[in-house]
């Protein structure tokens, strides 16, 4: 009710006025009454006396009026807050510890949640994002796999031209462009877009214009649109940038406009800086452009539905046109069987309101695991503060008894104590949000790799803030309720007697403290086990023999296509560069190849061998690399038998290969692969020359460290069947690989200044492939240690309190002749009991919970005994230490002093 609200607010904020008005009102009444009595014949004194008698307690009446006006609730809250702040300020150290551990707990939760929010929950900053759906394809060959999101250009055009039921449909493809014109590569995040991209999303320009349908026509000259961020960063936001040019992979594009700030594309975690129309791909590709290629999968497609049309209807209408669409884009060079299956594909729609993201596939599970981990840390922190509160409540025993004796109701006292807790947790939350800002930025940097910068907009939104607020209130109540209820259950008489009871009562009173510490131990064990498992997985991956030596290898990627070298000159140029690089001082061994280990790129195909029971289908898949003769030596993959390649293995010489153990074992089970022939399964109508196996190499990881070794075949780079315009040089160095970069640049420039170069080290490349593992191992270890620390503070605090409570008892025991050792045993018995209980519960919990980690582990089972034992050992050792310190204090009690105190 509005008038009610006004009245209450007035009572609250115009308190002085309202109070004096009430005073005046009552005064008036009093005076009238006195006047009436005088009129009826009493003397003035007599009249005043009777009126006062009738009136009763003035203050009490005012309090009742305040209640009637409904202001007391808020007023006492303010009182409670003031009092709570005073109490917290009285024990600054304890309050700081509590706030800090809460801030860490809440901060960690907020940081992880804000990542989950940005990666998975947040809506795209475009018009009506809920109308957007991404178009993907179900492949009848692999019905259980996720629908395929990438399209070929002919397929996209066929779909675009045959549909009329979208209000707008568009395609895009993210890529990297090189801004430099020769020399060290300067990458920029590029995007190919169809003409309808910006208009369908409803993104507006802040300068110039955006790409339109008219820009996206075959043989287009190519125009570029910059994002606001890139425009600011590279052009200082100068209006003159529009109309100027930008060089992408050594081709010049006219800048026609800048898109509005806030929008950075549909893919969460990746942004674009420069957008160009799809038709411009021909400028980079030349006559064999991907625009016509029917098996070059590179485009993503999404659309905006017309108002009132739901996804099911759209899917049904897509189903009607899909046979024509797939028929129009059929890859003609595929085998008939695969063509048939291609025609059986169907379109499926997935909501794109929150954008699309590879991060989501890759990090959903780790993020959920981390959310669980930080949740546990917060619980442990809460438990800590609960035991702190218990101890403090015991110290305030007398105060509470006095307040109760003066008439405070229990509900009122509980409210007071809970207010203190919520104050603590709100302070923790405020500080926690700061930690979280810093922590989540750190996390994003952590999951970015050299090749793949992760870009996330981590601004706080209402969802994150309400999450934090919710967590703060929840934790405040969680650690406040038990102490509040316990400490207000005071027996007035015993409290007033003034003695701290030393009998069984006080030990019983401590029982919840033990429960709290035991559960902290249990939760800490769970975290330690998890971090142990992640850590051991990572160590296994990092230290295992991958079949190559990742240390001290510089990787130099050179692109002769961007350098605009003619295809027929390229082999000679690569040869020349390799020769110069190998003779650089500091290079132990140098080579070149098409692939490098664990690089995210694969080249594979099926193999045919002339044997009965030859592997077929997926079993016949082998992975390829084309290498110069010194490659195996440079990456240190041992040649086990046969010969290496040499200068005689030229383009025109008979085809030869070195194969790895797995390939030899798979295709030649009799162990006689050397000297045998195989063929690469040909495209229909193409010849497949026999390839002689001349050497056998040790297995090496190809795609990722986690894989079982792939069947791998190495071929001489001179015999590469198609152009590889981008090749990689590997240089094993004596000193730090990156120190070699300037001399490499110089050597390459002496061949051609136009060649763009990209530098990595092999060690970086391997590290980058372990981001997920390292993230989990590092963070879970960090939080495991934090949990351990918190639990130990809890144990130490609880025991110190217990020892202080039992000091008189220990004094008496010693006075009666108990040896000091027995006092120590007495205390340690409590420690062991709490520890054993906590460990048993924690072990059960961990055994039940670690199953979910299975997929994230490598080289060990979730129920790994050693990990469990080490975790239990570490926890026990630290707990015994935390318990021993107060126990020793108990042992050193001077019996006389203790008794006198009593």
């Amino acid at each position: 009710m509005f008038s009610d609200l006004i009245l209450r607010l007035r009572s609250l904020f115009r308190r002085e006025t309202v109070e004096s008005e009430t005073d005046a009102e009552l005064r008036f009444h009093f005076d009238q009454q006195v006047a009436k009595f005088i009129k009826s014949g009493l003397t003035r004194e007599e009249a005043m006396r009777r009126a006062r008698l009738e009136f009763g307690g003035h203050e009490q009446l005012k309090e009742e009026i305040r209640d009637a006006r409904g202001v007391n609730l808020v007023e006492t809250l303010i009182q409670d807050v003031r009092y709570g702040l005073r109490i917290l300020a009285r024990t600054p150290v304890i309050s700081c510890i509590a706030i800090l551990s809460l801030a860490l707990g809440i901060g960690a939760n907020t940081a992880i949640f804000s990542l989950i929010d940005t990666v998975m929950l947040r809506m795209l900053p475009v018009q009506k994002p809920e109308e957007l759906t991404q178009v993907r394809m179900n492949d009848p060959r692999s019905p259980n796999e996720e629908p395929e999101p990438t399209f070929t250009n002919p397929l996209w055009e066929a779909l675009r031209d045959r549909q009329d039921f979208y209000s707008g449909i568009f395609a895009w493809s993210l890529t990297q462009f090189d801004l430099s014109q020769g020399g060290a590569v300067r990458d920029v995040n590029g995007m190919f877009t169809s003409g309808e991209y910006f208009s369908t999303l409803g993104v507006r320009p802040v300068a110039g214009r955006l790409i339109t349908a008219a820009d996206d026509k075959r043989d287009c000259p190519g125009v570029a649109v910059l994002t606001y961020g890139f425009w600011q960063e590279h052009f200082g936001g100068a209006p003159s940038a529009v109309g100027g040019t930008v060089s992408l992979d050594n081709h010049s594009f006219e800048i026609v406009g800048v898109s509005a700030p806030g929008f950075s594309g549909l893919e969460v975690g990746n942004k674009f800086d420069v957008a160009i129309p799809i038709c411009a791909a021909e400028i980079f590709d030349g006559p064999k452009t991907r625009l016509d290629r029917r098996s070059w999968w590179w485009l993503n497609v999404a659309g905006r539905s017309k108002p009132g049309v739901n996804a099911d209807e759209l899917e049904a209408r897509l189903g009607v046109i899909s046979p024509q669409v797939f028929a129009a884009a059929l890859p003609r060079d595929w085998e008939p069987k695969n063509q048939e299956e291609f025609l059986k594909r169907s379109f499926v729609l997935t909501p794109a309101a929150t954008g699309t993201s590879y991060l989501r596939r890759r990090f959903t599970q780790p993020l959920h695991i981390l959310m669980g981990v930080v949740g546990l840390v917060l619980l442990i922190a809460c438990a800590n503060i609960a035991s702190l509160m218990l101890a403090r409540a015991a110290a305030r025993h007398k105060e509470i008894a006095v307040r109760k004796a003066l008439g405070a109701s229990r509900a009122r006292l509980i409210r007071q104590l809970l207010t203190e807790c919520v104050l603590l947790s709100s302070a923790g939350a405020l500080l926690g949000v700061l930690f979280a800002r810093w922590g989540s930025a750190l996390l994003v940097r952590y999951i970015s790799t050299g090749d793949n910068k992760v870009f996330l907009d981590l601004s706080l939104d209402w969802r994150v803030l309400s999450f934090t607020a919710g967590v703060a209130v929840f934790t405040g109540i969680l650690f406040g309720v038990l102490p509040a209820f316990r400490s207000t259950r005071v027996s007035l008489t015993s409290a007033m007697k003034g003695s701290q009871a030393i009998d069984g009562e006080s030990r019983a009173k401590f029982r919840p403290g033990k429960w709290i510490v035991a559960s902290q131990v249990a939760l800490s064990l769970l975290l330690l086990v998890a971090s142990g498992l992640f850590l051991r997985s990572l160590i296994t991956l990092v230290t295992m023999d991958a079949g190559f030596d990742r240390n001290n290898v510089l990787i130099v990627r050179a692109n002769l296509h961007t350098a605009k070298a003619l295809p027929e000159q390229q082999p000679a140029m690569f040869d020349e560069v390799e020769r110069r690089l190998r003779s650089l001082p500091g290079v132990i061994s140098g080579s070149r190849s098409v692939m490098t280990p664990v690089s995210n790129y694969v080249w594979n195909s099926d193999l045919d061998v002339d044997l009965p029971n030859a592997p077929k289908g997926d079993a016949a898949l082998a992975y390829f690399n084309f290498i110069s003769p010194s490659y195996l030596e440079t990456v240190r993959t041992p040649l086990l038998a046969g010969r290496n390649f040499n200068d005689g293995d030229t383009k025109t010489a008979p085809r030869v290969a070195v194969v790895n153990e797995t390939l030899a074992r798979t295709f030649f089970p009799n162990g006689d692969a050397l000297g045998k022939y195989f063929r690469i399964h040909p495209d229909p109508g193409k010849p497949a020359p026999p390839i002689l196996i001349v050497g056998l190499a040790k297995d090496a990881k190809y795609e990722s460290l986690r894989e079982e070794a792939h069947a791998t075949a190495y071929f001489p780079i001179a015999q590469i069947p198609e152009d590889a315009e981008e090749q990689v040089f590997e240089l094993r160095t004596a000193a730090r690989p990156s120190a070699l970069v300037p001399s490499v640049q110089e050597a390459v420039a002496s061949v051609s200044k136009a060649i763009p170069l990209e530098f990595h080290t092999l060690a970086e490349q391997v590290d980058d492939s372990l981001v997920q593992e390292r993230l989990l191992a590092t963070l879970s270890t960090f939080f495991g240690a934090l949990a351990l620390l918190l639990a130990m503070i809890g144990l130490y605090g609880a025991l110190s309190y217990l020892v202080a409570q039992r000091q008189p008892e220990f004094g008496i025991r010693m006075a009666l002749g108990a040896p000091r050792g027995s006092i120590l045993r007495l205390v340690m018995r409590d420690v062991v009991a709490v520890l054993a209980g906590g460990l048993a519960a924690g072990a059960c919990l961990a055994l039940a919970a670690v199953g979910v980690l299975q997929k994230m582990l490598y080289g060990l089972a979730p129920h790994d005994t050693l990990t469990f034992l080490v975790a239990i050992g570490v926890l026990s050792a630290v707990a015994m230490l935390a318990g021993y310190l107060p126990a020793r204090r108990a042992m050193r009690i001077d019996p006389m002093a203790a008794l006198r105190y009593e």
Binding site: A24, E25, F28, E54, G56, L61, A68
Partner: protein, 110 residues
């Protein structure tokens, strides 16, 4: 005087206040006087219950208060019935009459 005093049933005071204010706006003292007079001194309203009741009714929006000048030329807080208060008075009057009649009937016949 003590012998005349009758405990008011819960909620009755509100009804009496509303009824008293139905005639004209009044300040607190006059309300209690009026009730005392009309009830021939049977009902004595204590300030301890009168003022909390007035403020409660004001909060509910049934009466509103404004400052005015009293008969003896002093500033006094006058209460008057609002529209919702008048409706409420009718409701409570009805239900009170029904209740009183029912109680009377039981007392006479039983």
């Amino acid at each position: 005087m003590a012998t005349k005093k009758i405990e008011l049933p819960q909620g009755t005071l509100d009804l009496l206040i509303l009824r008293t204010l139905a005639l004209e706006p009044q300040h607190g003292w006059a309300i209690s006087e009026r009730i005392q007079q009309i009830s021939s001194d049977v009902l004595l309203i204590q300030q301890g219950s009168l003022y909390p009741a007035l403020h409660r009714l004001e909060r509910r929006g049934w009466i509103k208060a404004k400052w005015g000048t009293s008969e003896n030329n002093r500033r006094a807080k006058y209460y008057e019935l609002t529209k919702t208060g008048r409706k409420q008075l009718e409701l409570e009057q009805d239900s009170w009459k029904k209740l009183a009649a029912a109680v009377a009937q039981i007392l006479e016949t039983a």
